[in-house]
């Protein structure tokens, strides 16, 4: 489809506009102001992030997208309190973030479940760390396992589960702490296409039913548009906010919307932002020069 017969991604239907108005009425959960991050590497000082400014409203679904090396993982790690920042502020409910805490749940790409604990005990881990007694933690854990559909696997070990199931456990484990915001670092990146789309719908269902705000990092454009209210587009070297896109695709969302004009218009815009021109290949890739010689019969063609 040619981009020129598409509507502008800025055009919003009445319903979508009204929805954004409602979102903007809500209180701000997360505020990031002039956030910068520099660190020393073997190549000298690197500026990973510069002047990042954005805020997330309560129960908003925000996706962060950008080319590799744009610092999206650094950003979410700073928000989680796993890394320090060198400039600006991160405010959660108006209070500065100083380290990891249970008010921010995090779901990692690699699941990072505790292999020595059963599924149920993995989910109980957070509440127990925060001083809840065992019975209470267990009750909560079972509730959340039911919510992600894994009650049957409560006593299984993580290694006995599939990737999608593990990520469900990780989501339950993060949500049982009732965080103000759920930070997700490419959580479905390692899943196959079918499981991934199932998990996306499941995540939307969870988000609809629970008072939780989501900040979701991805490099998959379709995933970002399908999930997000707003998309934060970063650019690389240094990581800066390029644009914040209000997704014009109406809710409730369904996989059937992937070919609607709003969806395609948004995707076209994202592609324009993220792949403006073919980037020069990095040096180590240039060094790879395959030298193919014919190793099979000359007449034995496959194409």
């Amino acid at each position: 489809m040619k981009p020129n017969n598409l509507p502008s991604y800025l055009d919003q239907s009445e319903a979508v506009k009204a929805r954004f108005d409602r979102i903007n009425q809500r209180e701000t959960i997360l505020e990031v102001r002039k956030l910068g991050k520099r660190f020393l590497s073997a190549q000298g000082e690197v500026e990973a992030l510069r002047g990042i400014d954005f805020s997330v409203r309560r129960r908003e679904f925000v996706c962060v997208i950008g080319p590799s090396g744009c610092g999206k993982s650094t950003l979410i790690r700073i928000l989680a309190g796993l890394e320090s920042h060198s400039a600006g502020d991160v405010l959660l409910d108006g209070k500065p973030v100083t380290g990891p805490g249970q008010d921010r749940g995090m779901v990692f790409q690699g699941y990072s479940l505790f292999p020595w604990l059963t599924v149920k005990k993995n989910v109980m881990f957070g509440p127990q760390m925060n001083g809840r007694d065992k019975d209470e933690a267990e009750r909560d854990a079972l509730l959340w396992l039911d919510l992600v559909g894994l009650t049957k696997f409560a006593d299984a070990y993580p290694h006995q589960l599939s990737g999608g199931m593990r990520q469900r456990v990780a989501i339950a484990r993060a949500l049982v702490n009732q965080p103000r915001i759920l930070l997700m670092d490419e959580p479905f990146g390692a899943l196959d296409a079918q499981t991934r789309s199932k998990m996306q719908s499941h995540l939307i269902d969870i988000w609809k039913n629970i008072d939780v705000t989501v900040l979701f990092i991805t490099h998959d454009l379709d995933e970002a548009i399908y999930l997000a209210d707003r998309i934060l587009v970063l650019k690389a070297h240094p990581g800066e906010v390029q644009e914040v896109i209000e997704v014009p695709v109406p809710r409730p969302r369904s996989p059937g919307q992937f070919n609607t004009p709003e969806f395609l218009a948004t995707k076209a815009r994202l592609e324009e932002l993220i792949h403006p021109e073919p980037e020069p290949e990095p040096e180590d890739e240039q060094a790879v020069k395959p030298h193919l010689i014919r190793l099979t019969d000359v007449a034995d063609n496959v194409e």
Binding site: F108, S112, F114, W116, L117, F125, Y157, P158
Partner: protein
């Protein structure tokens, strides 16, 4: 994982073949030993005198070189005296498997009652106690120190360079010092085992601790885990299967220091038994004792491995063996 196991050549469904090969790996050396012992023309450089005949210095049950025996047979024939008889035999230091098996059986079933002659079970029991205390003391210090060094960079940088240096000092070199400080009985022996094990233990366990996935610690931190709980609820359980494996290897290490340790001060335990028996040329007993050490060490490790599979059902690395 499936690709790695393919490359590492692990055979999944073939447990029977594996057991057979395992038994074979023990039968093969035994077969060689039997060949050397029972087939007269394989080695047998000596002759076991049965009847000395006219040779005045031959005695019954004496072992003489084959060439010397042949010379004497020729001498006697020339002088028309009684010809000595004998059968070819191996040197005294290579008893046959059945002799060792008999010594092994007798060692446990009819141990000597007198106080001056060491009995095998009592000697072994003493040695096991030395190993136990040595390994326990080493672990009480080494395991926590290793975990702390692996977890906290500061701690690791402070302790490891010195330990790295110290582990090159051969433990037996401290023998005389240990006797001067701890007396001549069990103290210095335990100390040698501790010195031999502890420094390796700290480094190995620190390394194991460092290999714990960082994201597990990060995940725990985002779930509200802090300080000491990070250590006790994440680091320790996370490395436990590997720590257990390390300890198994280190226990084997401790056994290798046993003989040297027991020579220090008053000789004791299985080492005393072995040296005494060797002095009386009871080499069947010597072999039986050496093999018992092997059987105990190997047996303990097998049991511990089996126990490990029970204790850590989530541990995936065990599937590859």
């Amino acid at each position: 994982m499936s690709t790695t196991s393919k490359w590492l050549g692990s055979v999944d469904g073939d447990a029977r073949k594996r057991t057979l090969l395992g038994i074979g790996s023990f039968l093969l050396p035994l077969l060689v030993w039997c060949l050397v012992s029972y087939v007269p023309f394989v080695w047998h450089p000596k002759v076991h005198v049965i009847d000395p005949g006219g040779v005045d210095y031959f005695q019954v049950d004496m072992l003489v070189d084959k060439t010397m025996f042949a010379d004497e047979v020729a001498n006697m024939e020339r002088e028309h005296l009684a010809v000595p008889t004998g059968k070819s035999a191996n040197p005294i230091y290579l008893p046959a498997p059945d002799q060792v098996a008999r010594a092994f059986y007798n060692g446990f079933v009819n141990p000597p009652q007198s106080k001056d002659v060491p009995s095998m079970p009592a000697s072994l029991w003493h040695s096991i106690q030395i190993i136990f205390w040595g390994f326990l003391i080493s672990s009480i210090v080494g395991v926590p120190l290793g975990i702390l060094s692996g977890t906290y960079t500061l701690m690791g940088r402070l302790s490891e360079p010195f330990i790295e240096f110290f582990r090159y000092l051969p433990a037996p070199a401290f023998g005389a010092l240990a006797v001067a400080i701890l007396g001549i009985y069990d103290g210095p022996k335990i100390a040698i085992i501790v010195i031999g094990t502890l420094f390796q233990q700290v480094l190995i366990i620190a390394n194991t601790t460092r290999k714990l996935e960082v994201t597990l610690i990060e995940a725990a931190r985002t779930l509200g885990t802090r300080n000491i709980k990070l250590l006790s609820k994440v680091v320790v359980p996370g490395i436990l299967p590997d720590l257990y494996r390390d300890q198994r290897i280190l226990l084997g290490w401790a056994w290798t220091y046993l003989i040297v340790a027991e020579l220090i001060g008053t000789s004791s335990g299985i080492t005393w038994f072995i040296t005494q028996q060797a002095r009386y040329q009871h080499f069947d007993n010597v072999y039986a004792a050496i093999m018992t050490i092997g059987i105990i060490g190997f047996g303990t490790d097998l049991i511990l491995a089996r126990l490990g599979r029970r204790l850590f059902p989530w541990d995936r690395t065990q599937d590859r063996r």
